[in-house]
């Protein structure tokens, strides 16, 4: 019986290896034939056997072959490092993209490009390595180290990616010239113009691969669990950390050449594992081969849609292929996720400030900042002038500035901040996780895609159409997420997983649109980063109407959310209709967020941080924390708007980015503290 089983396994292994290699060869042939100069098979052979300097041969030798080989190397590396991360972190969702390693590497590369340009000679390997290692360390540490749960680690990874990519976008807007070439690289592209990338990355990654194969029997033991492995005499920490180190080095080596390409590292190992392979040696070999197949295949697809004047990032295509896979995976495992008995775990401060005092304090600060928002800008106005203008007198130019520009803008920032924060509070309780926010359930990216759709395809600059499309995009993407998550009875982990996948598809779409069109790149980046720039009284009306209708309902729901917060079992036991309340709250939460996002663009973090701060200040009761988090959110966006407007006048930094930069330190602390929340 055993020997029979073994021979069957052996056959499957052989089939998968040979099949993969053959497929790779076949795809390579197609790949090399793609492009504007036709080449025949003979020509390809010829350029190997008797190299001459014809145009065709130069194209093959200097452009196409390097690109193909780089694709094979990168795909393979993503494949085996994916396996490595998944095994070492005991996390089926781990890969360089979900762990935030890619975003971290991108961030440091951009940073060096701007501030320490002299250090970059050729390939930014060291820079990428610093970012990648740093991020890997932070993610593992913040999500609770060895005891980290897969979902928590993935959330920390994606949240950290969000921090890095928003700071990266700030830098890209501020230093448009210095970072000009980095956008394509930043979304992952295999384009090569010489052999440098290959001669650089191949030796490093090959050594890493060999080490992986050598330590693979140890990883099989590690699979039994840390305690058992130690009991069997394995130096667990040694293998864990060298493994992660190798994975990060190999990833950085390819990322520094081709940019962050997501999802290959997630799909390849999963396909192999699902086929029943469980020895790491086999998984490494096969996921390397199939990783290459996937990446080369994705590159072929990405090149089908170019006309030579631009290059679509292959990273976006791997996301489009890989994200449905992630959804499928979530779907398969989702049924088991449904029975989570935990309530919402949040942290409250030890010494609570009394609620009325807090209310007065926040309102006071908001009024002060609001007045300053009216005061400062291109032309500084005195307090006396402002009062004059608001009461109807005052000179014409100044009153124009106040009434048409500063006032609607400040009010929009305040209201949008409030709406975002309240929606964040509702969503966090529904998703049962204080690390969730609008971006978790696809709203921000969906809205971004919708808005870009309006800008480019409907070539619209109208103030009406862009928000409408953004709104539709937001609602659609979150509907998809909720529809799929229905299977697990809207379990939080499921929502988060599917959210990550849908977000990936949306941002791939955004990248493709931004890159494939040449006009208005910076403008759309600004919109995507979230801006209060062109706020008008229209926005104020929309936001006020929505608040007037929805906030009273949200207020009533908050009472019920106090029960939902205790976890599904307890909530039902004390008489709450959990599922109904969850659906209702989600609908209103999504609606609020979609409205806010369609008026001010994708402002991240407010929906995450404000509710958290509010809970910290006033505890778990939702009606109290709704008020406080609303005020905090409004305050945050108001301050960010003011800073973004005056700091580099006459240019502007999008307020959404200021929020991220201000919020990042608090956020890191938050991640740290949630990892060791007491129950």
């Amino acid at each position: 019986m055993t020997s029979k089983l073994k021979s069957r396994d052996k056959n499957l292994l052989l089939v998968m290896m040979m099949g993969g290699l053959l497929l790779l060869l076949f795809l390579s042939f197609i790949h090399i034939n793609q492009g504007f100069v036709d080449v025949s098979f003979n020509m390809i052979l010829e350029s190997f056997i008797s190299p001459r300097s014809t145009v065709e041969q130069n194209v093959i030798m200097d452009l196409r072959l390097p690109r193909l080989i780089m694709g094979i190397i990168a795909g393979g590396v993503f494949g085996f490092t994916g396996t490595l991360f998944q095994s070492l972190m005991k996390n089926p969702l781990a890969s360089s993209s979900t762990l935030g390693i890619n975003a971290g590497a991108y961030f440091t590369v951009v940073l060096f490009n701007i501030f320490l340009k002299d250090f970059i000679t050729g390939i930014p390997f060291l820079q990428a390595l610093i970012g990648a290692l740093g991020t890997a360390f932070i993610v593992v540490y913040l999500s609770g180290g060895k005891k980290a749960k897969p979902i928590q680690m993935t959330l920390v990874g994606t949240a950290l990616s969000l921090v890095f990519s928003s700071i990266t976008s700030t830098l890209q807007i501020l230093y448009e010239y210095e970072t000009k070439g980095l956008f394509l690289w930043g979304s992952g592209s295999l384009m090569q113009t010489n052999w440098k990338g290959i001669t650089f990355s191949f030796p490093i990654t090959f050594i890493c691969f060999l080490i992986c194969i050598i330590i693979s029997p140890k990883l099989d033991i590690l699979e039994l669990g840390n305690d058992t492995a130690s009991a069997l005499g394995l130096n667990v920490d040694l293998y864990r950390y060298t493994g992660i180190l190798i994975g990060v080095i190999a990833t950085s080596a390819v990322v520094s050449v081709v940019g962050p390409i997501g999802f290959v590292g997630l799909i390849a190992p999963h396909i192999i594992k699902r086929m029943g392979f469980n020895k790491h040696k086999h998984i490494f070999l096969l996921s390397t081969i199939w990783g290459s197949v996937i990446l080369v295949g994705a590159d072929i697809i990405s090149r089908l849609y170019t006309d030579g004047s631009y290059e679509l990032p292959v990273g976006s295509f791997t996301a489009i292929i890989g994200a449905p896979w992630l959804i499928y995976l979530a779907y398969k495992t989702g049924k088991n996720l449904s029975n989570s008995r935990e309530g919402l775990l949040f942290q409250a401060g030890k010494n609570k400030i009394s609620y009325p005092i807090l209310l007065c304090l926040l309102s006071g600060i908001i009024i002060i900042i609001f007045i300053n928002s009216l005061k400062y800008g291109g032309q500084e106005l005195s307090l006396k002038e402002i009062i004059e203008i608001l009461s109807g007198s005052g000179n014409e130019v100044s009153s124009l500035i106040i009434n048409k520009v500063r006032l609607p803008r400040a009010i929009t920032a305040l209201l949008a901040g409030i709406v975002l924060a309240v929606s964040g509070l509702l969503l966090q309780t529904v998703l049962n996780n204080t690390l969730a926010d609008q971006s978790t359930i696809g709203i921000t990216h969906g809205a971004g895609l919708g808005a870009l759709f309006a800008i480019y395809f409907l070539s619209s600059k109208s103030i009406i159409l862009i928000p409408i499309c953004a709104f539709v995009g937001a609602v659609l993407s979150s509907l998809i997420i909720f529809k799929i998550s229905k299977i697990s009875n809207y379990s939080p982990s499921m929502l988060i997983l599917v959210g990550i996948a849908v977000n990936a598809i949306c941002s791939a779409g955004i990248n493709i649109i931004v890159i494939s069109t040449t006009v208005g790149k910076s403008a759309s980046l600004v919109w995507l980063a979230g801006s209060t720039y062109s706020s008008s009284w229209n926005n104020v009306t929309v936001l006020l109407t929505v608040m007037a209708v929805i906030f009273p309902i949200a207020w009533i729901l908050c009472k019920e959310l106090d029960a939902v917060m205790l976890g599904e079992d307890i909530a039902i036991a004390i008489g709450s209709n959990v599922t109904k309340i969850r659906i209702l709250t989600s609908i209103f939460g999504i609606f609020l967020a979609a409205i806010a996002v369609s008026t001010v663009g994708t402002v991240a973090f407010i929906g995450l941080l404000a509710p958290h701060m509010a809970r910290f200040l006033v505890g778990g009761k939702h009606q109290k924390s709704m008020v406080i988090s609303g005020l905090l959110g409004g305050l945050m966006l108001l301050i960010s708007d003011l800073i973004g407007r005056v700091i580099i006048y006459p240019s502007e930094i999008p307020s959404g980015l200021i929020v991220s930069v201000i919020g990042a330190p608090y956020f890191l602390w938050l991640l740290y503290s949630t990892s060791n929340i007491k129950r």
């Binding site: 049924k335 008995r341 935990e342 309530g343 919402l344 775990l345 949040f346 942290q347 409250a348 009533i556 009472k559 019920e560 106090d562 029960a563 917060m565 205790l566 976890g567 079992d569 307890i570 039902i572 036991a573 004390i574 008489g575 709450s576 209709n577 809970r615 505890g619 778990g620 009761k621 929340i677 007491k678 129950r679």
Partner: protein, 261 residues
């Protein structure tokens, strides 16, 4: 009236059947304890009594009405359940938690009335948690935390209380502590208590009625003296044992035989 009655109950998850065609009545004003081997469906049955799990087939009747026809909040006024080791944020204070027990009595706008406050205080008092009322949950010991949860269930003022392994993970001192508390509630306030318990000897001491489960069915039910025999233990746990009389409490006492010594 019979507090809980199940008719032709069939329970399970996905395709697995865990309880099959069981009909049972829980006696009023008594302590009923469910026993059985791991995975025999004790907790599943308890959860279905509290509508935390929908039956695949059959009916559950609470105080004479079908559970599916009673509004959720109404059930919460008649039946309280403490699920197995619930996890909530440790930042909640004991009082905040116990106040949640008044949830079924509140409409969307009103705050806790004076009457609610009195009931909350009473629940805190009878669980001896009054002095810890303003402490946060994460500052409590395991036994205190469990008492806080029981106080929350008490604040619901239900005549029926279900508990899923209320003594798991507790030191033996706390185990006795919790069981004594439940015993007092039963004797002094006439609460009908149904719980799942692992310890056979403690079950015999505290239970008026024992229901033993095996193979998706009820193996035997009745008073501890009727149910706990060496044959029952052999059949449901596959364990050879001697049943003697507890010298102090005069209830059945199980001494398992070892196969090695």
């Amino acid at each position: 009236m019979i507090p809980i009655k199940a008719e032709n109950l069939k329970l399970g998850y996905e395709n697995a059947v865990i309880i099959d065609d069981v009909t049972v009545e829980i006696p009023e004003n008594k302590i009923t304890i469910l026993i059985g081997a791991n995975g025999c469906g004790k907790s599943t049955m308890l959860r279905s009594f509290a509508r935390l799990l929908k039956p695949k087939c059959g009916e559950i009747i609470i105080n004479g009405r079908n559970i599916s026809s009673i509004p959720n909040k109404q059930i919460s006024k008649e039946l309280g359940i403490l699920p197995q080791s619930p996890i909530v944020s440790g930042s909640l204070t004991v009082r905040e938690l116990v106040e949640m027990g008044r949830f079924p009595y509140q409409t969307w706008r009103n705050k806790l009335s004076d009457e609610d406050q009195i009931i909350v205080n009473k629940a805190l008092k009878s669980t001896q948690m009054l002095e810890f009322a303003d402490r946060t949950l994460d500052s409590l010991s395991g036994g205190q935390k469990q008492r806080a949860w029981i106080a929350m269930v008490l604040a619901q003022e239900t005549d029926i209380i279900l508990l899923d392994e209320p003594t798991t993970y507790l030191d033996v001192t706390y185990q006795i502590d919790i069981l004594d508390l439940l015993y007092k509630l039963n004797k002094e306030e006439g609460k009908t208590i149904v719980m799942v318990l692992h310890d056979l000897n403690l079950s015999c001491r505290y239970a008026d009625y024992i229901i033993a489960l095996k193979n998706k069915k009820i193996y035997k039910q009745g008073s501890p003296q009727e149910v706990i025999t060496s044959k029952t233990v052999k059949d449901i746990f596959d364990l050879e044992c001697e049943i003697i009389q507890d010298p102090i409490y005069k209830t059945p006492y199980c001494i398992p035989y070892s196969k090695a010594i």
